[in-house]
């Protein structure tokens, strides 16, 4: 490595820190101010880490939200999985929790994979809602990393709350600092672990931040009962400044009658 390049790498975090300090100080929200120092710490840590080092923190190869959902769902309950993909989660829940499961999926190939797993699956477009499905006919309705891909997210959320006693919703947090940096400073659509697609090939059309979602829940009188986040490889309960630090979030929600 040339001397010049080495110097650049050394100075880059410092310059970036300055810029960030400036950037963060321009925001007046208390949450942002509160976490400016932590954020800068994180970024410094991130820039000094070797590529890929961060990934190692979570040992299990399974999706973190699947693990959380498996903990939440009770034995023998009725579960509807909206956008169930190839049915992995339902298959596990059927096997381990003896649930009565039903999936809904739009992609015909994934629907066939569900059939191969022995998962009951209904090929349908979530954007059309669940017409005629009775209220509260499921104990849990799961909307796992699907919300941001539908055309009518509010309609889908409302239907989730209507047909289920509890809704479980997870999505990538667009307020995550890394996303903000990619777009805010990098000037490019973020391509990170939780948002792995280039702009032209992404299924994600309605991204929101954790704050956005909470604001919607407040307006829609939807109660958030339980919250979990994935933050820097760690799964933990929601903290105050997670609009910056959570990569992905998972809420258990309930409608207010």
């Amino acid at each position: 490595m040339s001397k010049k390049k080495k110097n650049m790498e050394k100075t880059r975090p410092d310059r970036l820190t300055e810029i960030l300090r400036l950037w963060a100080s321009r925001y007046s929200q208390p949450l942002e101010r509160l976490s400016a120092d932590r954020l800068i710490g994180r970024i410094e840590e991130f820039l000094s880490e070797k590529p890929g080092a961060r990934k190692k923190k979570r040992k299990s190869g399974r999706r973190w939200d699947h693990e959380v959902i498996e903990r939440i769902i009770t034995q023998g309950s009725r579960v509807l999985d909206l956008g169930c993909g190839s049915g992995e989660l339902l298959e596990r829940l059927i096997r381990q929790k003896g649930i009565r499961g039903q999936g809904i999926e739009i992609d015909p190939e994934k629907v066939c994979e569900c059939v191969a797993r022995g998962v009951s699956v209904f090929q349908a477009d979530l954007d059309k809602g669940l017409p005629g499905w009775p209220d509260n006919s499921f104990d849990f309705v799961i909307l796992e990393k699907t919300l941001q891909t539908v055309h009518e997210p509010v309609k889908v959320l409302s239907e989730m709350i209507r047909v289920g006693k509890w809704g479980i919703v997870s999505f990538p947090n667009f307020g995550y600092w890394h996303v903000r940096l990619e777009l805010g400073l990098g000037g490019k659509m973020p391509v990170i672990e939780s948002l792995p697609y280039p702009w032209y090939a992404t299924p994600n059309i309605h991204l929101c931040s954790l704050e956005d979602f909470m604001a919607w829940a407040g307006e829609a009188r939807v109660e958030i009962i339980e919250s979990h986040v994935l933050s820097h490889g760690e799964v933990r309960p929601l903290r105050e400044d997670d609009n910056l630090f959570a990569e992905e979030v998972l809420f258990v929600v309930q409608g207010n009658p």
């Binding site: 066939c112 005629g132 499905w133 009775p134």
Partner: protein, 410 residues
């Protein structure tokens, strides 16, 4: 737009018909022997949904594979409008029964049935019987009416999908099978499969309903009306008493030609025939056969007349018209009707089917879903129209194989 054409091409290839399996092929059921049994005698007639009764009733059926000791591996295959009990393999008794059209062709679902096929004769015991009122060995209008000693003709009573299913249940009783592992059928046979799940919820573990819905659409009723009109107005029809004389061949051929239009799709016709002329480079400006599509329909009409009875066509299309699962079991409410279902259900539709369009198949699946019962609904992308359930055996085969394989660990 570079991707879509490639996809269409792949799809068309995937649906390409497999080479016909000869009787010695390892995946063929080989030579088959139709069975016939008298299930109903005059002492104990078979009562019909539309009123009246009939006796005696003989039923022709075929079986493939072996019934296991626990008697829990039986699958009932049901057939559609023009089908018969000969689902797979090669009829060893072609000459004995004068069914020469079977010489060059295996059964109607040969790609799906056999050792290692989706309906695997090494695992399952498969049964198919010919429906009441048809002309392939089960009692129908062509048979002698014991009261007159002459063929029934139009004196044959009107039969329904419900009657067919109850007669199939009698056949299972006769075979000593209490509960079937599955029932599977497409089109009109899909309605029989549904009726099985509704009428005998505890005798069916799994039901597979293909290209079918809880009732025929008004458009479907209209097609059937035209088909029957062609038969009824044929000068040879003679109020159904044409046996031993000239049959109403033109009427039946026209009915079949219309049928074939409804089984295909616009896309399928473009692919199969386009606007190509039949064996000529320039039109002749006549009313003869000019286009390939005309030649195809004429051939279908003609060959059908050799193997089907016009009266049976009337009776079976009528049964198709009347079938209404919601009315029969739910006082007009399909969701209420489906509350009876205890079986695991899979409904499969095909995107270009306009006889039983995906929307109507979905409506059926939804009605089951609304009862909180597990249901699988799949729409297979295909441009083969209604025929897809017979042609798309690769896509359908995987679904059927997998659905059946996982049916026991629910």
């Amino acid at each position: 737009m570079e991707h879509p054409p490639a996809k269409v091409e792949r799809k068309a290839q995937g649906a390409k018909k497999r080479a016909v399996k000869g009787p010695e092929h390892k995946a063929s059921v080989g030579w088959t022997h139709p069975e016939r049994v008298r299930l109903v005698t005059e002492a104990c007639p078979f009562y019909l949904e539309a009123g009246g009764s009939i006796a005696p009733v003989d039923v022709e059926y075929e079986t493939y594979g072996k019934l296991n000791a626990a008697k829990d591996n039986a699958i009932l295959i049901v057939h559609a409008l023009s089908g018969d009990a000969h689902v797979a393999g090669w009829d060893a008794e072609v000459n004995k029964r004068g069914r020469k059209w079977r010489i060059r062709k295996p059964g109607w679902w040969d790609d799906m049935v056999g050792p290692g096929e989706p309906l695997d004769t090494e695992r399952y015991f498969l049964i198919c019987s010919n429906v009441l009122g048809s002309c392939y060995g089960t009692t129908g209008p062509i048979d002698l009416d014991p009261r007159t000693g002459r063929p029934y003709g139009l004196r044959f009573p009107l039969v329904t999908v419900g009657d067919w299913v109850r007669l199939q249940a009698l056949l299972l009783d006769h075979l000593g099978i209490d509960r079937i592992y599955a029932v599977i059928g497409g089109s009109l046979a899909g309605q029989q499969a549904l009726e099985w799940a509704l009428a005998f919820p505890d005798r069916v573990e799994n039901a597979i309903i293909l290209a079918s819905s809880a009732r025929l659409s008004p458009q479907g009723l209209a097609f059937n009306a035209v088909a029957r009109h062609a038969i009824l107005s044929d000068p040879n029809f003679n109020n159904g008493d044409y046996y031993g004389r000239s049959a109403p061949a033109e009427g039946l051929a026209a009915a079949r030609m219309l049928g074939h239009i409804t089984y295909l799709s616009d896309e399928a016709m473009y692919r199969k025939f386009g606007r190509r002329l039949q064996g000529k480079s320039a039109p002749e400006f006549s009313f003869g056969i000019e286009f390939e599509v005309e030649s195809y329909l004429a051939y279908q009409g003609k060959s059908f007349v050799e193997r089907f009875d016009a009266n049976s066509y009337l009776y079976i299309t009528r049964a198709m018209d009347y079938y209404d699962a919601a009315r029969n079991w739910g006082g007009g409410e399909l969701t209420a009707a489906c509350s009876r279902i205890n079986s695991r259900i899979m409904v499969v539709s095909f995107s270009s089917d306009w006889l039983y369009p995906p929307k109507e198949c979905e409506e059926l699946a939804l009605a089951i879903c609304r009862n909180g019962k597990p249901v699988t609904y799949v729409m297979v992308p295909s441009d083969y129209g209604h025929d897809a359930f017979l042609v798309e055996t690769e896509a359908l085969g995987d679904l059927v194989r997998n659905f059946l394989a996982r049916g026991r660990d629910k």
